[in-house]
């Protein structure tokens, strides 16, 4: 099952490699991993999307906690949470397709952030599923490149991950 794990760690050189190293050494899946500093400059927050049986997820949670530089870990999928991912898609946009592509972008509440005579670059934010749906809704042959940030997650309401 898919899980979104959020963690706070010391914002130190090499900390990211301890997490990614743990996943590869123990054979855990990483679907996506994002990391950036928080409002507290000494801490980084990481969101890892992974999948596995309950036993594997339990081990991932414990093994992450065991890393010396990890301050706090939360499995967001255990409760109410929000998930957002940013995607940039560059598409070929010429002739009749130009109008169609604009319409689809509006339907998905995206915006076109760069225009050339032959291309659009579309920015889209949402849960992973929404981004997938957009890619399926447009003509695949028109996609020139896509870049995605991977999911960031946060708990709903009082579910707060902090020091």
């Amino acid at each position: 099952m898919r899980h979104i794990i959020s963690l706070l760690m010391e914002n130190e050189a090499g900390a990211l490699s301890r997490v990614s190293g743990l996943f590869s050494a123990r054979g855990y899946n990483i679907e996506s991993l994002t990391v950036a500093p928080t409002e507290n400059a000494t801490l980084s927050r990481m969101t890892i999307v992974t999948s596995g049986s309950d036993e594997v997820i339990e081990q991932i949670y414990k093994q992450l906690n065991k890393l010396i530089e990890v301050v706090a870990v939360m499995d967001l999928s255990e409760g109410g949470h929000l998930e957002r991912e940013l995607m940039l898609v560059k598409v070929r946009a010429e002739g009749a397709v130009r109008e169609e592509m604009k319409r689809m972008t509006d339907i998905f509440r995206g915006c076109i952030i760069d225009v050339s005579d032959k291309t659009y670059t579309i920015e889209l934010t949402g849960a992973c599923q929404k981004l997938e749906s957009f890619l399926q809704a447009i003509d695949r042959s028109l996609i020139l490149e896509t870049v995605r940030t991977g999911a960031s997650g946060i708990g709903r309401g009082d579910r707060i991950l902090k020091l």
């Binding site: 760690m9 010391e10 050189a13 090499g14 490699s17 301890r18 190293g21 050494a25 036993e55 339990e58 081990q59 414990k62 093994q63 906690n65 065991k66 010396i68 530089e69 990890v70 301050v71 020091l163």
Partner: protein
């Protein structure tokens, strides 16, 4: 007064009361060696290969309750040390390794003897540091010792670039340390202690299974008291030997792949299992599915939450320091209205007695050829069970574990988790330095000993009167045994040809060498060797080439599917 980074490093070791540092000099650690040279509080033991430095620090740590310390140079110094570090990591041994690094301005330029030490060692240390500011050396080393010893112990590496070790700053050693992201558990939840006691007292077929955690936590006394109070059978893992006295009547022997019949059957068919500082690893429970076919309640005490329900699902986890938890359990038991009911478990003991009757450690005696088991039995007798025994890895290791009855903790020193050949001799050096007046024997084979044999030179330099008990069967015995069982007797590369004359070799290093070829010579030779209190004696026992280790639970099999010697 300002000190150099190198001087600060040594001052830190002094502050930590490090008695010995095991190491090997090189370019990147020259400043640190220079600082060592001008003091005599911390004694340096010069090994002949960095792997041995780590094993020696490891043996020192295992035989005491102290942190082992090693010092190696950058590049090959570190890569040579990796085997030792991984060995210590797998067995949770507290250790601090100081490594030199190329100067900070050269890092990343593929400098001479540069290697990404933090990257290479990351998967086999509890934690590691690269010090980039001379002002951080003292606080980093303080943290390193704290991390190494607290919680689940382990090796911690501090990498110090050469320019940092010669820059100067004021020295002050932090009095205490706290790391906000690191808070190992100490005491356990009292509710869980209560539940555990209820489960234990209701057991009809109980079993206590204790591992290396008991030894690391210095909790043998508490474990022994608990086992006696409950009247339950107790088994030890390979790492736990000595954690419970082997000559006690409630001891059912070691369990696992080469464990006794009664220990493995007891483990399989118990209804309540108390696991103490052990981790249900593959060499202990074998096939987990097979193990889970029998229903039992499992209580698991461990300092490391990630050890709990990793391979075997447990019903009642108790996370905490083993000694603290056992104290809590004892207090709860003493205060409990309900007392352990020996009548209720009498049928279980009768069953265990029946299993014991199989006499699973019996072997065919011989007057003509030396049986390896016989050597260990005689070693036990001659040393009156009171020696420190280190071992390498293979058949000899299993025989030592099976036939030397360890009554005290920290007397059995072996590489259980990683299974590192070459461990025994350097580990014994660390043990002997920690216990200068004790008998220290290294049980080894002609395969393993050659992996760190250069340390005979270190032993000469530091006058370490070890006794090397080499069971020489001219085979990589455990490999040969598996080839016999699983590969149709095709002994691929497991025959040890062109062996040196070990007696002459020992003499060449300045030691005493003995070759023993007849069973009747075993005991007199051992007596003579242990009588030579000032000398290292290298004993080359020519043993039965085809002897196998039994009992054996084959890989992928369950504990009750054990093969006994009599089955073949």
């Amino acid at each position: 007064m300002e000190l150099t980074g190198a001087e600060i490093t040594i001052r830190c070791l002094q502050e930590e009361d490090a008695e010995y540092v095991f190491g090997y000099p090189g370019g990147a650690v020259l400043h640190i060696y220079d600082a060592l040279f001008t003091q005599d509080q911390v004694k340096h033991i010069l090994v002949r290969h960095e792997q041995a430095a780590i094993h020696a620090a490891d043996g020192y740590a295992r035989s005491t309750d102290k942190v082992g310390v090693a010092l190696v140079t950058s590049g090959p110094g570190v890569t040579n040390a990796v085997t030792g570090i991984a060995t210590a990591y797998m067995d949770s041994i507290p250790m601090v390794i100081i490594s030199g690094q190329v100067p900070t301005y050269a890092i990343g330029e593929d400098a001479f003897q540069e290697v990404d030490t933090v990257g290479i060692t990351r998967p086999c240390v509890k934690h590691n540091f690269l010090v980039k500011d001379v002002k951080e050396i003292a606080s980093t080393i303080k943290k390193a010792f704290y991390l190494a010893k607290s919680g689940r112990p382990g090796p911690v590496l501090v990498d110090i670039p050469k320019d940092i070790s010669c820059q100067k700053t004021e020295f002050s050693y932090p009095a205490s340390v706290s790391i906000r992201s690191y808070n190992p558990a100490q005491h356990s939840d009292l509710e869980q202690i209560k539940s555990a006691v209820q489960l234990l007292l209701a057991a009809k077929r109980p079993m206590i299974y204790a591992g290396g955690g008991v030894i690391l936590a210095d909790a043998s006394k508490q474990l022994t008291e608990l086992v006696h109070l409950l009247g339950f059978p107790c088994t030890n893992t390979l790492m736990g030997l000595g954690g419970y006295p082997a000559t006690d009547k409630q001891f059912v022997g070691m369990l696992g792949m080469h464990g006794t019949y009664e220990a493995n059957m007891g483990m399989q068919y118990c209804d309540v299992l108390l696991a103490v500082g052990a981790r249900f690893d593959d060499r202990v429970v074998g096939n987990v599915k097979h193990f889970n076919q029998e229903k039992r309640k499992i209580i698991h005490i461990d300092i490391d939450p990630s050890s709990i329900s990793k391979r075997v699902k447990v019903d009642l986890p108790i996370v905490g320091d083993v000694a603290h938890v056992l104290n809590d359990l004892l207090a709860e038991l003493h205060g409990s209205q309900k007392k352990p009911d020996q009548q209720a478990i009498a049928p279980w003991w009768a069953q265990i007695k029946e299993w014991r009757g199989k006499n699973s450690l019996v072997y065919k005696k011989s007057d003509e050829i030396i049986k390896p088991q016989f050597v260990i039995e005689k070693l036990y007798e001659v040393t009156q069970g009171d020696a420190f025994i280190t071992s390498d890895v293979g058949q000899h290791q299993m025989w030592a574990a099976q036939y030397y009855k360890f009554d005290k903790p920290r007397r059995w020193i072996n590489s259980g988790g990683l299974g590192t050949m070459g461990f025994g001799l350097p580990a014994a050096m660390g043990v002997q330095l920690a216990h200068p007046d004790a008998h220290v024997a290294c049980v080894t084979g002609e395969g393993s000993i050659q992996m760190c044999i250069q340390e005979l030179s270190t032993c000469k330099q530091f006058q370490l009167p070890l006794k090397i008990i080499m069971l020489n069967n001219r085979y990589l015995g455990m490999v040969r045994q598996w080839q016999q069982f699983f590969h149709g007797n095709r002994y691929a590369e497991s025959y040890m040809d062109a062996l040196p004359d070990f007696v002459k070799l020992a003499e060449a290093y300045g030691h005493v060498g003995m070759r023993i070829e007849k069973p009747s010579d075993v005991e007199p030779a051992l007596k003579e060797a242990f009588g030579r209190k000032q000398q290292l004696v290298f004993m080359d026992f020519i043993t039965d080439q085809t002897e196998n280790v039994f009992p054996m639970v084959q890989g992928g099999k369950g504990l009750s599917e054990v093969i006994l010697a009599e089955d073949l």
